[in-house]
């Protein structure tokens, strides 16, 4: 998808003003996810599990070359074919060539953020291949020609009414059909697509180096069907998705589910080693794993940002973020949104295209507390802000505001004076027009500043 992250402020404003339903739908869905995650963390020693997962991922990332080679060797022994793609264009080319060489006419897909990242669907469609998204949320978005707005719930920005209208138009369901009937209509439609597809395309949650096991987590069963029914299975996997040993899987399968949806584990997990050969196994004849870099080695080389690569794409940071909640994912202008997008996108795409994203945060720190692999997102937001600052890429209002703040803060007398008059200005029209605050007060009542200055409270002893 085109990168529109530079327009973050405009995109966010348009979503909030023109489609108020999005804020309502996203706030409701993320609040439910977040509450479920909190309950699920409370059932386990979440701190110990998160530290363990952080440790395993740090280990694998700091030995990534060895584990990539080990995974490749095991997969080849298992009869799978391993491909390497340096960038999005190479990844698209590999899949499209595979499909064309094998006379593939239709492809079913399981949900995969990486295939969004590399824009796979248009590349296949250009060659006359039909592509069907089979995750219910992704299917809705494909019919609407929209991008996913959340890692786990791609269509959470759409209401029941939206889907009722869409399916009435496209699948002939009743205008007031219930979710059960709508899902049944989609199931019938997609079941036929599963049966006729020559190729199934999936992503990958984890790739275990020790056994060459690709692990996929889901709740609907469409990924199991995608990787089982068509004669060819192609999985696109980011090089950071490796786990060292088979013994690591149990912990990661559980922690990812608890962080993402609050479940003990996804309803269906596929552990795939290679193509079906045993009598009785009706799985695919060919399994292809495409290992994709596309900017990940640049992130790995960054002494701060490399920690972003621990991400397991659970969406917990989106669900707990007060900023993401207001707009959903589309405002961020690219595939990965919310707190993780704000630190991952600058790493993968470069700051020139994404500079406003690290500023789309209140630095409240909730994302770090939710993250199952303890990515220091608030620190990384500051890291990218500093980098943007150094390169003159900060948003205009931020720059003006910071300049004014610097001028004030470096002149103690002025600082003290403004500190005294500031509270009196609050609520006045001048206060609302101050450069740093106008973006905030345009849509809200300004907070009442304390009538007494922090400096005064401090010298008197706060709270005494």
């Amino acid at each position: 998808m085109d990168v529109r992250s530079r327009d973050y402020a405009d995109l966010a404003r348009t979503i909030i003003e023109d489609t108020p339903g999005v804020r309502k739908a996203v706030s409701g869905a993320t609040a439910a996810f977040d509450a479920a995650r909190r309950r699920a963390y409370a059932e386990i020693d979440a701190e110990a599990w998160r530290r363990w997962a952080e440790g395993v991922k740090n280990h694998v990332l700091t030995h990534l070359d060895q584990y990539l080679e080990e995974a490749e060797a095991r997969l080849q022994e298992n009869g799978a074919k391993v491909h390497w793609a340096g960038n999005a264009q190479e990844a698209r080319h590999i899949v499209a060539e595979l499909a064309q060489a094998r006379g593939v006419r239709s492809v079913v897909k399981g949900k995969s953020m990486l295939t969004e990242e590399i824009e796979l669907n248009p590349a296949l469609e250009e060659r006359g291949i039909h592509v069907y998204e089979t995750d219910l949320g992704e299917y809705i978005l494909q019919l609407l020609d929209e991008a996913p707005s959340h890692i786990l719930g791609p269509a959470i920005h759409r209401s029941l009414e939206d889907v009722q209208a869409l399916f009435a138009d496209r699948l002939g369901t009743a205008a007031d059909a219930l979710p059960d009937d709508l899902a049944a209509a989609a199931r019938t439609e997609l079941r036929a697509r599963f049966q006729e597809a020559d190729m199934g395309v999936s992503g990958g949650n984890f790739l275990v180096a020790e056994t060459g096991t690709l692990a996929l987590i889901e709740n609907e069963g469409n990924i199991r069907l995608t990787t089982s029914l068509p004669r060819i299975h192609v999985a696109l996997v980011g090089i950071e998705k490796l786990l060292p040993t088979f013994g690591d899987l149990a912990g990661f399968l559980q922690l990812t589910a608890r962080a993402g949806t609050g479940q003990a584990i996804g309803c269906f997990v596929s552990l795939i080693q290679g193509p079906a050969t045993a009598p009785g196994d009706d799985g695919p004849e060919e399994v292809h794993i495409v290992l994709v870099d596309n900017g990940r080695t640049d992130v790995l080389a960054d002494e701060h940002a490399w920690e972003t690569l621990r991400c397991v794409r659970c969406g917990a940071c989106l669900n707990t973020c007060p900023v993401y909640k207001q707009t959903g994912g589309h405002a961020y202008g690219w595939v990965y949104s919310g707190p993780i997008g704000a630190v991952l996108d600058p790493g993968l795409l470069g700051l020139e295209q994404t500079a406003p994203l690290p500023f789309a945060s209140s630095l409240c720190g909730a994302c770090f507390d939710a993250c199952p692999v303890r990515i220091p997102i608030p620190d990384l937001l500051l890291h990218w802000r500093r980098a943007a600052q150094a390169r003159g890429l900060t948003p205009l209002s931020e720059r003006a505001g910071l300049k004014a703040f610097t001028a004030m803060a470096t002149r103690p007398a002025l600082y003290r004076y403004l500190g005294r008059v500031g509270p009196r200005l609050a609520g006045s029209s001048l206060f609302r027009r101050l450069p740093v605050l106008s973006g905030w007060t345009e849509h809200r009542e300004p907070p009442e500043p304390s009538p007494r200055r922090f400096r005064d409270l401090w010298s008197e002893g706060i709270g005494e």
Binding site: A32, L253, C267, D281
Partner: protein, 200 residues
Amino acid sequence: MSAARDATTTRDEILSRVRSALSGRTGLPHPGPLDTQGEGGVGALSSRLERNGARVERLEPGAAPGEWLSHLLERLVHEREPSIAVGHGVPARLIPPLPSAPPEEASVGISVAWGAAAETGTLVLPATEGRRVQLLVPLHVVWLEKEHIHARLGDALDSTRQRGLGAAVGLHSGPSKSADIGRTLVTGVHGPGQLVVAVL
């Protein structure tokens, strides 16, 4: 330049970028196994599976499994003549006396689990019995021997690995579900909408 050579070059370039990114950085140690301290037994497994939306039934002592399952299905399947699809290698004594049909058409699929994990309510299903029978039917019955229940998921996976992972293994922990439409929970979206675990 041949396509094969291109592929090798890309591979080596990626690995060399990884090595240069890591040069001068200390390799961090693996933290060892995670102790999840799950509780074992049929009771723990049942309560987790039921939370996940599955149904657990225990074979009555002395009952013939096939006949017993046939009676159970009479209550669960609201069809005049339910048909069954049976996994490759399922023992004859576990197959109810009902007409058979391919997985695409059958109302019930019959599987035997290799093992289970109580802490997550997970059944381990080998691909060697056929995947369609586990996926295309509206109701999936999974036979499970009590002795094959592990407390922890890690132990269930270890024992699966010892038996052989084969091409693929499916872990099923509840019926197919989605909340993608208006945040309302819907079951049976793509996979089976009902999961029945029959404990032997």
